[in-house]
């Protein structure tokens, strides 16, 4: 087959050199060619739509209502059956998607922001007091077992519904900060930073306007990883009674299943496990794909 004279791609299938190329364009192109990653993205979007529907009150509004009898088998009315008090398990599992996204988004955004800012400051001021303080803080928080810290924070916040968010954010930022710090130490040696210094740009402006945007690929990948970690942690914490207080989550459903599997009812366990498995796997595929796409060594 003949190729057109001015092809949009080169012989290797990469974007043609004639177009204005950036690393972001290349990354996007690479991401779109990653089938597993795109499938993951599609599934995540599907879940996200489900969460939006819950937030807008389009569906799963009856998650708290007693809609049937005790432990009813799956039927057209109740796709996953009912629980101990007759609530519709499917409605509860769909509602839990919104909980997962709420926790995942809040924790991923805030932990990534915190990690990015503190990592950038530590990296830019490496060897100085700011750096030592941030590194010390990371070391201290890293040395405390995660679930012990969460229990301590939950206890200290006396039943506050956001205790779990605070606990997760206060630990999840550390990995991001370490990665960003390393990247910034590398970036601050480059000419554009030297130039900024030379023309008298203030240090914090250099950090936030010139250096931090160059760590965006790390932040993006880390935010997806943090998102998944937050969902999994929320499920575990809710299962342990340290997570969601007034609402519904897959962790609470799995906790509920502990009193019904012995009686031969698996609705809560299956619904929560399957939906969580789908979302976590999809996010993992997406996260892997993003990591591959945004890795400068592979992209270039």
């Amino acid at each position: 087959m003949n190729a057109p004279a001015a092809s949009a791609v080169d012989a290797n299938g990469a974007p043609a050199a004639s177009r204005r190329e950036t690393l972001w364009h290349k990354a996007l192109w690479k991401l779109r060619r990653d089938r597993a990653g795109m499938a993951g993205l599609a599934v995540v979007m599907l879940y996200f739509l489900a969460a939006i529907g819950v937030w807008l009150g389009w569906w799963a509004t009856g998650w708290a209502e007693v809609a049937g009898g005790k432990w009813e088998a799956p039927s057209a009315a109740h796709w996953f059956g009912t629980n101990l008090i007759g609530q519709d398990i499917f409605a509860r599992s769909v509602y839990s998607i919104s909980t997962a996204f709420e926790v995942g988004l809040v924790v991923a955004v805030l932990a990534t922001l915190l990690g990015g800012v503190l990592g950038a400051l530590a990296g830019f001021f490496a060897g100085r007091f700011t750096d030592e303080l941030v590194v010390w803080l990371m070391g201290v928080l890293d040395s405390i077992p995660f679930y012990l810290l969460v229990a301590a924070i939950a206890f200290a916040m006396a039943g506050n519904p956001y205790a779990m968010h605070v606990a997760m954010i206060s630990t999840f930022w550390i990995t991001t900060a370490r990665l960003v710090r390393g990247e910034v130490i590398k970036l601050r040696q480059l000419e554009f930073v030297e130039a900024a210094h030379a023309i008298g740009v203030p240090e914090y402006t250099i950090v936030f306007r010139h250096i931090l945007p160059n760590t965006l690929h790390i932040l993006l990948v880390q935010s997806t990883i943090t998102f998944v970690a937050a969902i999994k942690s929320e499920v575990i914490l809710s299962f342990l009674g340290l997570g969601v207080k007034d609402g519904m989550s897959w962790g609470l459903m799995i906790a509920e299943s502990t009193i019904e599997v012995l009686a031969g009812f698996f609705g809560n366990f299956l619904a929560a496990s399957l939906l969580m498995f789908g979302l976590v796997m999809a996010f993992n595929f997406l996260s892997d794909a993003l990591q591959d796409a945004l890795d400068p060594r592979q992209v270039s």
């Binding site: 209502e65 007693v66 609530q87 340290l242 009193i259």
Partner: protein, 607 residues
Amino acid sequence: MQFAARVSLGFTAFLAAVLLAGCGESRTPAGDASAGRKVYRHSMDEAPSSLDPVQAANVYANHVAINVYDTLYSYKYLARPYELKPNLADGWPEISEDLLTYTIRIKPGVHFIDDPAFEGGVGRELTAEDVVYSIKRHFDPATLPQGAWLWQGRVAGLQEWKAAGSDYDQPASGLVALDRYTLRIQLAKPYPQLLDSLAQGYAAVVPREAVERYGAQFAMRPVGSGPFRLVSFDTSRILLERNPKFRQEPVDLEAEGYDPATQGGYGLERIAGRSPPFVDLLEMDFINEPSARWNSFTKGDEVQYTTVPNEQLDRVLASRSPVRLKPEYEERYHSFAAIEAGFIFQVFNLNFPEFGYHPDPGQERRNKALRCAIIKAFDWEARNESFYGGIGEVYPGIIVPVVPEFDPDTPRDSITRDVEGARRLLAEHGWNAQNLPVLTYGTTGSVVMRLMFEQFRAWLKEIGYPTSKVVLRQYATFGDISRAWKQSELPWIAKGWGLDYPDAENTLQLFYGPNGSPGSNDANYRNPEYDRLYEQASVMLASPERTGIYRRMNRMLIDDCVAVTGLSRKRIHLWHRDVIALPDREIVGGFFLKYVDVLDKPAAGGR
């Protein structure tokens, strides 16, 4: 390399052997201690936190306290309703005509177990002075006592003795050892439940030498005169062995209340005429998780007793009413179903002006209508079916079925769901979604408690109570929520109550005005007429007149819409067929253990 590989392989094989050996090991009681001895392995869902009788505040501690110590009175092994019998006491007391003086004789020749605390390490004889000392300990703040409420303000002189510094060498005027075997109790006012109080674990008799020798360690090192003595104790199990010095008292089945018609199939006839205890070792395993307890029980060679977890009811029962096991379980186990001596109930805290007392009489009437509407919304049938296997007994009021004052003919309108009636009541009194108050529902973090809240919230939604106004407040531990109840922090209190003694007074006092928070009256109910009747009945011996007063008080509580009540759970006890027993954990709990016997080999059709 080959040498390294061999070492590695050998190490792996060794590890595997060790692990497999661990997997295959059966949990034998206390290892060599059981060799060739008759052992009964009981199970309970919690461990006692202390073995000191002054801290025997729950059924778990009582199971141990009354088996390693003696009490003056006890409950008959088989009689239901529960009946007292003399235990350490040598017969019934002499009671003065004014019902204020009790003279109790103690059996001579009862000895404590041998222990280094005694001179020469040999247990000395138990005397009336020991009884006086043991009860005085409840009025000594240094012992962290929990049972003083049984005698406070009732036995003369104890409060004064405490105020004077709790000096054990000083007498308390109302509690005196007249001689070595005679005790005199002087009451400040008639106390019909005095003998019941002397059957509690709190009243177990301890020797002063051991308390003083072991100090704080005494809580883990009991030295008593009961049928068993301690071998070992930790949070997973306690091992007791037969006290060889325990007095010889052959079992008189008839006197113990044996009913061949209902108790004939358990082999209890075998213990007639023999002196307990019948087993050499009594092990109690503390297994919190119902499924783990069930697995241990059905395994066959571990615990020999359990109650049936609710989630297993469908698997185990052929019929719920009457309770009947499926043939495969009937063949392997003995069973006995009994209503608990206690109940589940919810109360409104009337200290909250949104639900209870209010300076404006009009608002107070509206609040009462609101409470009555919530009671009408409550679905006892669904609650029973969801959480108590549908076999609990629901009844109006707070007089529970196991006490003789229970009235099965009390109108059931307060436990009959009436959603339309509730809506109408709210509308008639001007309540709507906008002005209904926020109802904070406190609970611990357990799954079951959380589901109870969700069920309750769903019922309230049906009568128009907005979901957003029924708010969950979680507490980390039962201790935390108990503190909140005591400090009157919650408008709605859902709890259970286990009877200390089989008398309706024990539940009616839960609404006696002076017992308001931090006392047992969590509702902070204050009704002068109710209080007057309580005071009148509390000094009366059991009689039709007293029963009439009790029932009148019960009716007042129902009419005032103070509580959503009540339900008594039914427990299904299962035990292996080679065990001769009729287990029970109500009223004190554990007094049956000294009568347990184990056949040398399983009976026909057994495991």
